[in-house]
């Protein structure tokens, strides 16, 4: 899949991360897994971008990091959405939906609009 190699559109990864945490705390590796599975293996998040993104979100206070035990009883850093993070996600999702709808509408155009309608 060539798409996976594409750079994430600016800010998109942030929303995906936040979304991944909606159901509860996850560690970094689980987040990549979630995104991969949810996108049917289309979106592969590289480690080199994931962790800096996580830390950035944490430093902005959108995420809380804390240490816990993983499924196989190993010490792992879990991330949790903060209230602020939840609010941010809601906003960004709304923005993204509006944006993608608009893009889709343009891309699915069937004919040239009438000239007098053009502004």
């Amino acid at each position: 899949m060539e798409i996976a190699k594409l750079e994430f559109l600016h800010g998109t990864l942030d929303i995906l991360i936040l979304k991944a945490l909606v159901w509860g705390p996850l560690h970094g590796y689980a987040i990549t897994g979630f995104i991969r599975r949810q996108s049917d293996d289309t979106l592969l998040v590289e480690e080199g971008t994931l962790y800096p993104a996580l830390w950035r979100l944490e430093s902005k206070g959108l995420l809380d990091g804390h240490w816990g035990l993983s499924e196989n009883k190993r010490k792992a850093k879990f991330y949790r959405l903060t209230t602020e993070g939840r609010r941010h996600l809601r906003q960004e999702v709304k923005k993204w939906e509006a944006y993608s709808a608009a893009v889709a509408k343009v891309l699915t155009a069937a004919r040239l609009p009438d000239p007098e309608e053009a502004r």
Partner: protein, 899 residues
């Protein structure tokens, strides 16, 4: 105390960011490897694949560390802020729990800091700030060394001015003004009732040299002060520049006045411009006086009048004071008093000394102001020590609290910071209050027009004053807040916790420090009290000075008259008649005891003529003084309350009769030592003047300096330059003034409504700078005394509280209340005596330093020292009495039980 949210996680994403990141990434790789193994990879290969997929681990690690550091920094900042905020909250809480402590400290600091701001503003305005002219450091005042013959010896003739200006090489330009201009020398006419106006006669280039630009219109040209017709009764050309305030007041800021003519003394005068608001002539050249307008002096008219102009020069850039003096000394021998008289060449030798204009304006005040600055600094020191003392007292009372907080983990630094914070909060609030006080004081001072201090009108709180406030506040808060803080932090906390009393060991140690603080407070107050005492004594000595006249129950008013006549003789006759009518008319008002006219009054401007020589004797040139000259009518001496031996002038001492004069006793002693001067003859050229009377010396120049020679001529024989009517009466001025003015208007309808001025104001004005400084220093001394009282009270009261159990035991063992009381008082006196002893030593040093500010008072003046000691002891006793009372009424049973 709520814990900040991130504290809970501090140890996870905390100081050891690097390890955390390594661990987190390591977990990721492990998890990935596990997954791969589960998919069927060999363990070795799986690990390699996981690492390959991950890419550059170090780069990610570095990014993580950077973010970690950023977070760390931000946290430390907010950590500090939150602690500080907590301290502030805590401070406010503890302060509000102890409102009397808070308000007393606040009041003390507000007074001390306010006084400091106000005095700094005065010092800054008068001493530190440059004069309000561009490149004002180039401006010099050119005058001879001080002498006894007043203004006439401090000025130069028109010829001398012109020659000095053209011969000197170090000046960009030289200018000057007519030094003998008196208040209300003009009448603004043609606009209803004539209004008096004060017009300064300046040389045409005056404003150009000072660098003053007109607000509207133009300045004078040098030609305008050369020739042409003059305004009647003046030596001014018919052009005028209006002072900004006068223009606004008298002409309602009408800009169209420029270019039009106004009427001065009944003659048209063209207004060429209006001066800017920033130019205040009186503030610089004549403190406490005002100038309404400026007119170009006619140098040609003045040429025959002798010394009339003062000189102000603007040096070329880079010329030093010494170079200017060298140049003046080079030029002086060639300068004529009057070019028509060759023998007058070189008369100004050694008499042309340029000094910086700033020194001329403010030099005399330098010492007073610096002394004032020190006084107010001492006040701040006392207030600071007091603050320290109060903080320490509170800290001691809170020793247990601090100990508990220490035991619970509050660092010592935190406790010091807490105390420092209290000190900062108090000082800050004190500074704000003080600033408010200072603004009020400064605004009031700036409007004290009658105070003879230069530049006062430009007094304001500027950025420099604000910076000074900040500096003073921060310094006070730091120094005096740190002291108790360090003291507490060094104390042994365990000891306090173990001890059941109010911290006996620590308490005693505190007491020693507090005693030392109080002693230093008393010592500082001592210095202030002695200084104030000396200045007070000087001031009372100044008031006791025999002025030679009686300033009370006498008033003066500027009288206008017309003595224009074709010939000199006719003029004298016309004037004599007019004066005689005025004196008779005003003298006839019921309740008026004496009336007379003089052209100059004491303690104001003055002038001299010639050097009369006793008949039949020879003197070397320069040996005899040049006496000050007054042209007076009969009755003036009595109206002024001067003491006369011999006879007064009479109206029959006319131009045809024998020439008569009255001299002062200084002159009599100098000219005819040990002889009766009455009947002696003074020669002025060929003219013989017969001495008919001797008056006691009148202080002409200033109240404080010694008196030189003075000569009084009758207005019936000599020409006065103007007429100041002096009326002596016990009537109130409200009754008297309208009557006098009505009388004058009956004789001369043109008489303007001139000011009816008590002679007392002349004296008040002359002593106003001394009164100003004396009052301020006395106020500071009072404040110092108050602060010392508070200090003594605080420390004694605290001691009594601490010793309550001990006193209880003693009283249980049979000590009487009286005995306990005596002991507390003795304790108080010991502290005070130590302070006084220490303070006296410093005070003697300070008194010697301010000796030049004293008048007829020795720096060793015993009454001042005794007064100080008495005041301090009394105040100490009073402030020790309350705690002593409390100690003596301790109930032994209660005291013992409470322990």
């Amino acid at each position: 105390m709520t814990m900040p949210f991130w504290r809970r996680y501090a140890r996870f994403f905390g100081p050891n960011t690097t390890a955390d990141i390594t661990e987190e990434l390591e977990f990721h790789l492990d998890a990935k490897t596990d997954d791969l193994i589960r998919q069927g990879w060999a363990p070795e290969a799986a690990r390699q694949e996981a690492e390959r997929k991950f890419g550059d681990r170090r780069a990610v690690q570095r990014i993580g560390e950077r973010i970690g550091q950023k977070v760390e920094r931000r946290r430390r900042r907010s950590d500090y802020l939150i602690d500080a905020l907590q301290d502030v909250r805590y401070t406010f809480r503890t302060l509000s729990r102890d409102p009397s402590f808070a308000s007393i400290s606040l009041l003390i600091l507000a007074l001390a800091i306010g006084a400091n701001i106000a005095v700094f503003s005065v010092v800054n305005t008068i001493l530190l700030r440059a004069l309000p002219f561009p490149h004002s450091n180039e401006l010099v005042w050119i005058a001879p060394p001080p002498s006894e013959c007043g203004w006439s010896c401090a000025t130069y003739s028109a010829d001398a001015y012109e020659e000095f200006r053209s011969e000197s090489r170090v000046y960009q330009d030289v200018t000057g003004y007519e030094a003998f201009t008196t208040p209300e020398n003009f009448r603004l006419t043609g606009r209803g009732e004539p209004v008096p106006a004060t017009g300064m006669e300046v040389i045409g280039n005056f404003f150009q040299v000072l660098g003053v630009e007109p607000a509207i219109g133009r300045l004078f040209t040098l030609e305008e002060s050369r020739s042409g017709a003059v305004v009647p009764n003046s030596t001014a050309q018919p052009f005028a520049l209006l002072a900004n305030a006068y223009w606004r007041r008298q002409f309602h800021s009408d800009p169209t006045i420029v270019g039009r003519a106004i009427e001065l003394n009944g003659a048209p005068v063209t207004v060429v411009g209006v001066l800017p608001q920033s130019f205040d002539y009186g503030a610089v050249f004549s403190p406490g006086a005002k100038a309404d307008l400026f007119v170009p002096v006619s140098l040609d008219k003045e040429r025959m009048w002798g010394n009339i102009v003062t000189l102000v020069g603007r040096l070329k850039p880079g010329v030093t004071e010494a170079q200017a003096l060298d140049d003046a000394n080079r030029v002086a021998p060639d300068i004529y008093f009057n070019v028509k008289y060759p023998e007058s060449r070189g008369r100004y030798k050694g008499n042309l000394v340029p000094i910086p204009l700033k020194d001329y304006v403010t030099g005399k005040l330098r010492r007073s102001l610096i002394a004032l600055w020190f006084a107010v600094g001492t006040i701040l020191l006392i207030a600071g020590v007091n603050l320290s003392n109060l903080l320490l007292a509170r800290a001691a009372a809170r020793a247990k609290e601090f100990a508990v907080r220490g035991a619970l983990g509050a660092g010592r630094g935190r406790i010091v910071r807490q105390l420092l914070m209290e000190s900062f909060v108090l000082s800050g609030a004190g500074a704000l209050l003080g600033l408010g006080l200072a603004v009020v004081v400064i605004r009031w001072l700036a409007h004290q027009g009658s105070l003879a201090l230069p530049l006062l009108s430009s007094l304001r709180i500027d950025n420099q004053a604000l910076a000074w406030t900040l500096l003073v506040t921060v310094l006070t808060a730091t120094v005096f807040g740190l002291l108790p803080g360090l003291r507490i932090a060094r104390g042994n906390l365990q000891e306090v916790l173990k001890d059941s009393g109010a911290g006996a060991g620590l308490g005693r140690k505190h007491e020693r420090i507090r005693a030392a603080l109080v002693v230093s407070e008393i010592a500082l107050a001592c210095v202030l009290l002695v200084s104030a005492g000396l200045l007070l004594r000087s001031f009372s000595k100044v008031l006791e000075v025999d002025l030679g006249f009686q300033p009370d129950h006498a008033w003066s008013i500027n009288v206008e008259y017309d003595d224009s006549a074709p010939s000199q003789e006719a003029s004298v006759l016309k004037r004599s008649v007019a004066f005689q009518q005025i004196v008779a008319r005003v003298g006839a008002i019921p309740g008026v005891q004496a009336v007379g006219i003089s052209d100059y009054l004491p303690l104001g401007p003055n002038r001299s003529w010639d050097t009369p020589v006793p008949k039949g004797r020879l003197f070397a040139p320069g040996e005899l003084p040049e006496p000050l000259v007054y042209v007076i009518t009969p009755g003036f001496i009595r109206a002024m309350g001067m003491r006369l031996q011999g006879r007064d002038f009479t109206w029959s001492d006319g131009p045809k009769s024998e020439r008569v004069i009255i001299i002062n006793s200084s002159m009599a002693r100098r000219f005819w030592p040990g002889e009766d001067p009455i009947g002696k003859i003074l020669m002025r050229g060929d003219e013989q003047d017969h001495v008919v009377g001797v008056v006691d010396d009148v202080h002409e120049e200033s109240v404080e300096t010694s008196v030189g020679a003075q000569v009084y001529y009758p207005s019936t024989q000599q020409g006065p330059s103007r007429a100041q009517l002096v009326v002596r009466s016990n009537l109130s001025p409200e009754l008297l003034a309208p009557n006098v003015l009505r009388g004058l208007r009956e004789l001369n309808p043109n008489q303007s409504a001139a000011e009816f001025r008590p002679i007392r104001t002349i004296v008040d004005h002359a002593v106003s700078p001394r009164r100003f400084f004396m009052l301020l220093v006395t106020a500071f001394a009072g404040l110092g005394l108050l602060l010392a009282t508070l200090g003594i009270y605080g420390v004694i009261s605290y001691t009594v509280t601490r010793q309550t159990p001990e006193i209880g035991v003693r009283m249980a063992l049979g000590a009487t209340g009286g005995r306990v009381q005596r002991q507390v008082l003795a304790n108080t006196l010991r502290l005070t005596a130590t302070g006084i002893a220490l303070g006296s030593v410093i005070a003697i040093a300070v008194a010697r330093a301010i000796a030049s500010l004293l008048f007829a008072t020795s720096p060793w003046d015993l009454p001042s020292y005794l007064g100080m000691a008495t005041a301090l002891l009394l105040v100490a006793l009073a402030s020790g009495y309350v705690p002593a009372r409390r100690a003596s009424s301790i109930n032994p049973m209660d005291a013992l039980r409470s322990n």
